[in-house]
C-alpha cells in the first residue's frame, strides 16, 4: 500500500451541523449528559456508493458501546469515521457530524492527525511495529512529545493491558515475537499509553483464539473504568458479555446498493432481551448473519 492510496484528497463537503433525525434511530440514549462522542451520520459515501446513512450513536462515558450487525452493514465504517480513519479511503465523503469534546471533528479546519492523537484505535489484525515491545508502547508518547518518565508510562500501559507480567523480562525483544493474543494486548497497551479518553476497537478479537478473546474481554471491562470504549464485533455473545449499550445496524438493499443504517440503539440488556424491531429479533435469534 502506498501513501497515494492511503492519503487521497479528502472531499469533505459542507456539513449541516444541526441535528439530523434518523428514521430508525432511537434517541433515548442521546439525552444522557455523559455523552463523550456524539456520532450523527447523515450519509457516508465512498465515491458514488452510499455506505452508511441515518445513523446516530451517542457514545456514553465509561461505557462499552458495541456495534453489531450482519456483514456489510457498515459497522466498521461507522467506527472508523469516529477518528477519521476513513479519510484514507479514496472518494470518502461524509455528511453529518461527529462531536467530540464539544467540537465537530469533521468541521472545516480540523486536523485529522490531531483528532487521531486523542482517540485510540485497536485494529482487527494485531499490528505491532517491527520494534521492541518497549518502543511499541512508547511510540505514541514520543509522537506526542511526552517529556515525563517513559519507563513508568510504558509499565503502566502494559499493566493496564494485562501484559506486564508476561513481558516484563523481555521488553527489548521484538513485538512481533509475541503470540497473536499477546500482540493484540500489546496494541491495546500502545493505544492506552497516551491515555486517550476514547478507545475504538474494530473486531479486536476476531483473529484470536477463545482464551485470548476472553482475556481481551476481561481487559475491556477493566479499561472502561478509565476509558470509554466503542467496539465493533461480529460476535453477539461478546456484545452481550461486555457492552453496556449496543447499536444494531442493518443493510438496506432496496436502492440496489448495500447501505448500512442504524436499526436500534439501546442498553444491551434491553436490546438482547426485548428487541423492539423485527429485524433485531431475527438477527438475535440467528436467522441471518
Amino acid at each position: 500500500m502506498n501513501i497515494q492510496e492511503v492519503f487521497p484528497k479528502v472531499i469533505t463537503e459542507k456539513r449541516d451541523s444541526g441535528r439530523v433525525s434518523g428514521a430508525h434511530a432511537v434517541g433515548a440514549a442521546s439525552a444522557d449528559p455523559g455523552v463523550v462522542m456524539d456520532c450523527r451520520i447523515k450519509t457516508l459515501h465512498y465515491g458514488n456508493f452510499l455506505a452508511v446513512r441515518d445513523t446516530e450513536i451517542p457514545i456514553v462515558a465509561h461505557e462499552i458501546t458495541a456495534f453489531i450487525g450482519p456483514s456489510g452493514c457498515g459497522k466498521s465504517t461507522v467506527l472508523r469515521s469516529l477518528n477519521r480513519m476513513n479519510d484514507f479511503v479514496n472518494g470518502f465523503r461524509f455528511e453529518g457530524s461527529v462531536h467530540y469534546r464539544g467540537q465537530d471533528i469533521y468541521a472545516q479546519g480540523v486536523d485529522p492527525v490531531a483528532v487521531r492523537r486523542s482517540i485510540g484505535m485497536v485494529f482487527q489484525q494485531p499490528n505491532p511495529f517491527a520494534m521492541s515491545i518497549y518502543k511499541n508502547v512508547a511510540f505514541g508518547l514520543r509522537l506526542n512529545g511526552f517529556k515525563g518518565d517513559y519507563a513508568e508510562r510504558v509499565e503502566n500501559a502494559l499493566r493496564g493491558a494485562a501484559l506486564w507480567d508476561e513481558v516484563k523480562d523481555k521488553l527489548n525483544t521484538s513485538g512481533l515475537s509475541l503470540s497473536g493474543g499477546q500482540q493484540q494486548r500489546l496494541c491495546i497497551a500502545r493505544a492506552i499509553a497516551v491515555e486517550p479518553e476514547l478507545l475504538l476497537m474494530d473486531e479486536p478479537c476476531s483473529a484470536l483464539d477463545p482464551i485470548a478473546t476472553r482475556r481481551v474481554e476481561d481487559l475491556m471491562l477493566e479499561l472502561k473504568e478509565k476509558y470509554t470504549i466503542a467496539i465493533v464485533t461480529h460476535n453477539l455473545q461478546q456484545a452481550q458479555r461486555v457492552a453496556d449499550r449496543t447499536a444494531f445496524l442493518f443493510v438496506d438493499t432496496s436502492a440496489g446498493g448495500r447501505t448500512g443504517y442504524l436499526i436500534e440503539y439501546r442498553p444491551s440488556a434491553e436490546l438482547f432481551e426485548d428487541p423492539r424491531e423485527e429485524r433485531t429479533k431475527a438477527y438475535i435469534r440467528g436467522e441471518f448473519s
Binding site: Q4, F129, G140, L176, C187
Partner: protein, 301 residues
C-alpha cells in the same frame, strides 16, 4: 446371499492388494528419471562457479602473503610487489560511488514507494531505473568520461566513482523500493491511527522496518559495481602509486589491474592478476554474505 455379494464387492480387486513400490511401474520410473535429471542439471549449473573458485585458489592462492596486500604493483618484468594500491583504489572508487548513489537511490525509492505511487512521474522514474539496470556498463564509463573526464581535463577516481554510481543507482532504488513496499499496510495504519503524520510514519515506521531489505540492495549493488572493469578503463584509468587523498587523480583498481596484467607477457604480472582475482572474488563473496545476514530478521511469530 446378498451379504456374500456385498463382501466380494468391498474386497480389493484381486492381484492389486500390494502397496509395494515397483520400479517397473511407469509412474515410478518416470519420477525417478526426472528427479535424477533435475539433480544432475543443478550440479552442472554449479560447476562453473566451483571451477572458477578452484582455479582462483590454485593459481592465485600461491601468491597470497602479507606483501601482496602491502606493496605496490611491480613494473613490467620486475618481480615482487603486490596489489595493495589496487585494493585501496577499488575501495576508494566504490566508496565514492556509494556516497553518490546511496542518497540518490534511497531517496528515489522513498519517493516511489511512499509518495509517487502510480503517478506519471513515478512511473517514468521507475521505467528509467529499470532501463538503467540493463545499461551496458561500458556506456556508464562513456557517460562519466564525457561528463567528468572531459570537463575536468583528467582521468580521476571521481570520474570512476561517477561511472560506478550510474550503475548502482537503479539497483539501489529498485531493491529499496520493493523493501519499502513490503512493509505491511497494517503497520502504517497503526501509525496513522496513533496520529502520526505521513512523514512520521515514513521516518519512524516504514524506513526502519525496511532497513534490512535496503541494506541487501546496497550490498548487492556494491558487489556488482566492484567487479566492473569497463566503466573504469577510461575514467579512473590506473596508477602504480598509492592513493594520496586526491580524488582528482587517476587511481588503481583490482578489476583494471586484472584486465591489464592478465594479458601481460610477464609471468609474474599474470600471477598477480590471478591473486587479484582471488581477492576481488573474496570481497564480493563477503559482501554477499553480509547482505544475506542483514536480511535475516529477528524471529517473528
Amino acid at each position: 446371499m446378498a451379504n456374500a455379494t456385498m463382501n466380494t464387492e468391498l474386497a480389493p480387486p484381486s492381484g492389486r492388494t500390494s502397496f509395494r513400490r515397483s520400479f517397473a511401474d511407469r509412474r515410478t520410473l518416470g519420477n525417478s528419471v526426472l528427479t535424477g535429471l533435475a539433480v544432475a542439471l543443478s550440479l552442472i549449473a554449479m560447476l562453473p562457479l566451483f571451477s572458477v573458485l578452484y582455479m582462483l585458489l590454485v593459481k592465485g592462492g600461491a601468491l597470497l602473503s602479507p606483501s601482496l596486500f602491502s606493496e605496490l604493483t611491480p613494473g613490467a618484468g620486475m618481480d615482487g610487489g603486490g596489489i595493495g594500491n589496487a585494493i585501496v583504489g577499488t575501495l576508494v572508487v566504490v566508496g565514492i560511488s556509494t556516497c553518490l548513489a546511496l542518497p540518490l537511490g534511497f531517496m528515489g525509492a522513498v519517493y516511489l514507494a511512499e509518495y509517487g505511487g502510480e503517478t506519471k512521474l513515478a512511473t517514468l522514474v521507475r521505467f528509467a531505473a529499470k532501463v538503467l539496470t540493463g545499461l551496458p556498463s561500458i556506456l556508464a564509463g562513456v557517460c562519466a568520461y564525457a561528463v567528468v573526464v572531459v570537463t575536468t581535463g583528467s582521468f580521476s577516481a571521481l570520474a570512476g566513482g561517477c561511472a560506478m554510481a550510474i550503475l548502482m543507482v537503479p539497483t539501489v532504488m529498485l531493491t529499496s523500493e520493493s523493501a519499502l513496499r513490503a512493509v505491511p499496510g497494517k503497520m502504517k495504519m497503526a501509525a496513522f491511527g496513533m496520529g502520526a503524520t505521513r512523514a512520521q510514519t515514513v521516518l519512524r515506521i516504514v524506513i526502519p522496518t525496511a532497513i534490512p531489505g535496503i541494506l541487501t540492495g546496497v550490498m548487492l549493488a556494491l558487489a556488482r559495481a566492484m567487479g566492473e572493469t569497463a566503466p573504469l578503463l577510461f575514467t579512473a584509468l590506473f596508477s602504480d602509486y598509492w592513493f594520496e587523498g586526491k580524488v582528482t587523480q587517476p587511481i588503481a583498481s583490482l578489476s583494471v589491474l586484472i584486465y591489464n596484467f592478465a594479458g601481460s607477457p610477464f609471468e609474474h604480472q599474470v600471477a598477480l592478476a590471478w591473486a587479484a582475482s582471488l581477492v576481488l572474488v573474496s570481497i564480493v563473496l563477503v559482501l554477499n554474505v553480509i547482505a544475506q545476514v542483514a536480511t535475516r530478521r529477528p524471529e517473528e511469530h
